[in-house]
Symmetry: C2
Subunit: 431 residues, 2 copies
C-alpha cells in the first residue's frame, strides 16, 4: 500500500474545530487507499505561550530545557488529532519523536535529523492505523529532546517521507500553492502546478514563506515528491519535483522580492589577497548572514577595491561593530556606507540555463520603467537586482507582465489530473 | 552523599514566581549537602485545561491519547524549574519518565509503577546536577506514555525515593502536616510530629487529602521515610515512619470524618451461602467502591439476613441499577432503603492494639452527646461509626476533646530536632 505523508501547520490545527476538519481530510486520504502518516505542528500561539513562560523566568533560558518545554506543544496537537480520528471511527496512534525514533544531533533549538527508524511507524501502519507524529522534534544520542529550528515541522515531514519512501509528502498550508508572484502584490499572479526542487530552493531562500529551504534540500536529496496544498480547500496545489525537460521550455517560473535587507558598502579596501576573506570571516564570526556580495574590479590608479553586500536590516548594528573591529585591525581604512532604503527583485527559473537573453530582457524591463539597478547577482537559475525600495512593487509588476507570467505561458504539471486542474482559473492566496 | 527526594504539587509550581520560590527551597537543601531529586506536578489548572481541550473534541477520548496529552503538563513544569535553577547558578536537568526509565503497566490513566531505573538519575547526580523529574507519568513496555491516576506525583516521588534509597522523601503541600483532626473543624487540632504508615494509610483512605494511599503503601513496603511539609513556610511537618514502641503509648492519633457517603440496606435476603457474594460481586462488576459493610445475624424465625453497606453518594444511581438487576435474578426479594443523610466518624491509632477499652470509650462519648450509632466497623487500628450527618461535627469535637487529642498528649517525633519543634505551638492549615 502506498504511503502518504501529510503535514499540517499550526494554523491548520489552531482550534478544536480545525483539528476536526484536519481529521476529516486525513480520513478522505485514508479512504482513497493510502497508508497515512501525519506530521503536525503545535496549535498556533502555543509555542509563543511556552516561550513567554520561559522568558518570565529568565531572559536567557538554557537551550536543552527550552526544547524540553516547547516540544510539549506538538505533543498536545498529536494527542488531540488522534482523539479526533478515533472518535470518527478511524484507528489512529500519536507518536513523539522519541517513540518514532527520530535521531538528531545535540544542537538544541536547531538540531539536524541524522536518522529515522521506519519500523515503529510501519508496524502501526500495518495494523491499519493512521500514524500521527509530532513535528519539529527529535532526540539526540543521550535521549534528550531536541527541536529542529525554523520550519522544523516541514523538515520532519519530508524526512519521514524519505525514510518511509512515501509516494507523496503533502504540505498543507494556508496558501493554495506556489505562485509566479505574491498574489497580494500582483493581482494576476498564477499558481504553478509544478516546480523543480532547485527553483523552490531559490524561492525559499528568496523569502517565499511556503516552505523552509532545509525541507526542500532533504526532498531534493531523497527524491521526495512534495505537494504544497491549502488546508482550507481541495484545490490541486503545487508539486515540487525533479527538474524535467518540459520545465526548461519555460524560461522563468516566478518573480519575488524582499525589502528586509540593507546594503553595506566598504570603500578603499587594499587590492591584495585575504582582504575579502578577513571581512567576511569577521561577519560570519558575529553570526551575520550575508546575502548578496558584489566586488568591483580594482581601480588601477589606487589599487583599492570596493565591496558591497546585503544583510538583514536587523543585523546592521552588529555589522557596524564588525566594521569598527576591522578598522582597528587596519583592514578597513576608507569610508563605509549603509543604505537601508533598498529592495531586491529576483527572477527564478530552470529555463534560464538553456534560454539566452533572460538577463538582458530583465535589465531592459527595469530600464524601460526607469528603475536603476544598484547591484546584480546571478546563479544558474536566478537573477537578483538591488533597486530602490520604493520601486520594488513597480518592478515586480513590470517583470511579471513583460515576461508574460500571468498569461498562461506558465508551466503546468504533466499528469492528466493536474492538467485538468490547471485549466481552471488559478485560486488566490487565502491566508 | 545522601539523596533527598522532594515533591512539589501543582499549587507550589502554579506560577513563574512560585516556581522561583521552589527553586530557592531546592537550593537550600542542596547546600545542606544532599543530592537532590525533585518531582513536580503540572502547574495548577494546566491538567484541567488539557482535559477540557480533549472534552471539546469528544466526551470519551481514548485513554492512551489522554495520557499523551496530559503528561505534557508535568513536562512544562520540569523544564521551567530546571531553567529557574540554572538561572540561579545551580546545574540542573529535567527528565521525563521515559528519560528516567519509570516503567509501568499499560493501564492508561491509572497505571502502576513496575520498575524504576536508578542509573540515569544517579549519573546526573554524580555530575553535581539537581535532577527534576516529571511526576504522574511513566512508560509501558511498548514505550507508550502512561499516567498514574489520582495522587500520581506523590506515588512517583515515593517510588523514586525507594529506587534511589533516599534518606527522606519530602512531600511539599499547602498544609503544614498531618493533624489530629481537620483544623478547620476542630480549632485546637494539633499537628502530629510522627505517624506510622498504617495510621497514615487509614487516614488517607478515610478522606484526609494530605497523601494518596498508594504512595503510603509504597513507602511502607520499601521503608521510605516520608516527610509531609508545607511549601509556604519552614515548619517541621510530619514524619511518616515505621511503627515504633513509643507510638503505642498513645492510644489514638487522630479523628476524621466524611459525609460524602450514603448507606444502602437490603432486607430479607435468604440466609444461605453465596447471597452476600452475589450482591457484592455485582456491585464490583459495576465498578462501585463499597466502603463499610455490616451484616446482621440471621433471624431464626424467617431465615433471612439484612445487609447494610456504604458507597459514595455519587454512586447511588448505579447501586439502584444493580439492585434492580438482583431483583430480576431473584437474589433480592425484600425492600431496600437508601439513606443519604449519614456521616462516618473514625478514630485511628496503633495504640489501640495494646490499649483495651478504646471502643467502649468512643461509644460512651457518643452516647453522652446523644449521638446514635447506626453502623460500626473496626480494623486493628481504626474504629468507624456511621451516625447522622448533622451530628458529625459535634461528634468529631467531642471525640477530639474527650480523648485529649488537643492537650499535649499527642505523640511527638523521637528526634531531638523534632521534639523542639513539637514544643512550639502547632501551626494551622494554610490552604
Amino acid at each position: 500500500m502506498d504511503i502518504l505523508v501529510q503535514k499540517y501547520g499550526g494554523t491548520s490545527v489552531g482550534s478544536v474545530e480545525r483539528i476536526k476538519n484536519v481529521a476529516r481530510r486525513i480520513i478522505r486520504s485514508k479512504e482513497k487507499g493510502y497508508s497515512v502518516v501525519v506530521v503536525v505542528s503545535a496549535m498556533s500561539g502555543e509555542t509563543n505561550r511556552l516561550i513567554d513562560l520561559a522568558q518570565q523566568v529568565t531572559a536567557e533560558p538554557a537551550k536543552r530545557e527550552m526544547d524540553m518545554l516547547v516540544s510539549t506543544g506538538e505533543q498536545v496537537s498529536i494527542a488531540l488529532l488522534a482523539i479526533a480520528l478515533q472518535d470518527m471511527g478511524h484507528p489512529a496512534i500519536s507518536m513523539t519523536a522519541a517513540q518514532v525514533g527520530i535521531r538528531t544531533d545535540a544542537n538544541f533549538m536547531n538540531a539536524r535529523i541524522q536518522h529515522i527508524d521506519d519500523k515503529p511507524m510501519k508496524a502501526e501502519l500495518k495494523k491499519g492505523r493512521i500514524v500521527i507524529v509530532a513535528g519539529f522534534q527529535g532526540i539526540d544520542v543521550g535521549n534528550n529532546i531536541t527541536t529542529l529550528g525554523r520550519g522544523g515541522s516541514d523538515t520532519s515531514a519530508v524526512a519521514l517521507a524519505a525514510a518511509l519512501k512515501a509516494k507523496y509528502c503533502e504540505i498543507y498550508t494556508d496558501v493554495d500553492g506556489v505562485y509566479t508572484a505574491d498574489p497580494n502584490k500582483v493581482p494576476d499572479a498564477r499558481m504553478l502546478r509544478e516546480i523543480s526542487y532547485e527553483e523552490m530552493l531559490e524561492l525559499a531562500s528568496l523569502g517565499s514563506k511556503v516552505l523552509h529551504s532545509r525541507s526542500v534540500e532533504i526532498a531534493m536529496n531523497y527524491n521526495v515528491v512534495l505537494h504544497v496544498r491549502s488546508s482550507l480547500n481541495d484545490n490541486e496545489g503545487t508539486l515540487v519535483v525533479k527538474e524535467t525537460k518540459e520545465m526548461e521550455k519555460i524560461r522563468i517560473s516566478g518573480v519575488t522580492s524582499k525589502t528586509d535587507e540593507a546594503r553595506v558598502t566598504i570603500y578603499d579596501l587594499d587590492d591584495k589577497p585575504g582582504v575579502a576573506a578577513a571581512v567576511f570571516s569577521e561577519l560570519a564570526a558575529s553570526r551575520i548572514n550575508v546575502d548578496m556580495i558584489v566586488q568591483s574590479s580594482a581601480l588601477e590608479k589606487t589599487h583599492t577595491n570596493r565591496i558591497s553586500f546585503t544583510v538583514k536590516k536587523s543585523d546592521i548594528k552588529s555589522v557596524e561593530g564588525v566594521v569598527e573591529k576591522l578598522r582597528k585591525a587596519g583592514t578597513v581604512n576608507g569610508k563605509h556606507l549603509v543604505d537601508t532604503k533598498i529592495g531586491i527583485v529576483s527572477i527564478v527559473g530552470v529555463g534560464m540555463k538553456s534560454h539566452t537573453g533572460v538577463a538582458s530582457q530583465l535589465f531592459a524591463i527595469l530600464a524601460k520603467n526607469k528603475i536603476n539597478i544598484e547591484m546584480i547577482s546571478t546563479s544558474e537559475i536566478k537573477i537578483s537586482c538591488v533597486i530602490a525600495e520604493d520601486r520594488v512593487l513597480d518592478a515586480v509588476r513590470a517583470i511579471h507582465r513583460d515576461f508574460g507570467l500571468g498569461e498562461g505561458s506558465v508551466r503546468s504539471a504533466a499528469k492528466p489530473a493536474a492538467k485538468k486542474a490547471a485549466a481552471q482559473p488559478a485560486a488566490k492566496k487565502k491566508g
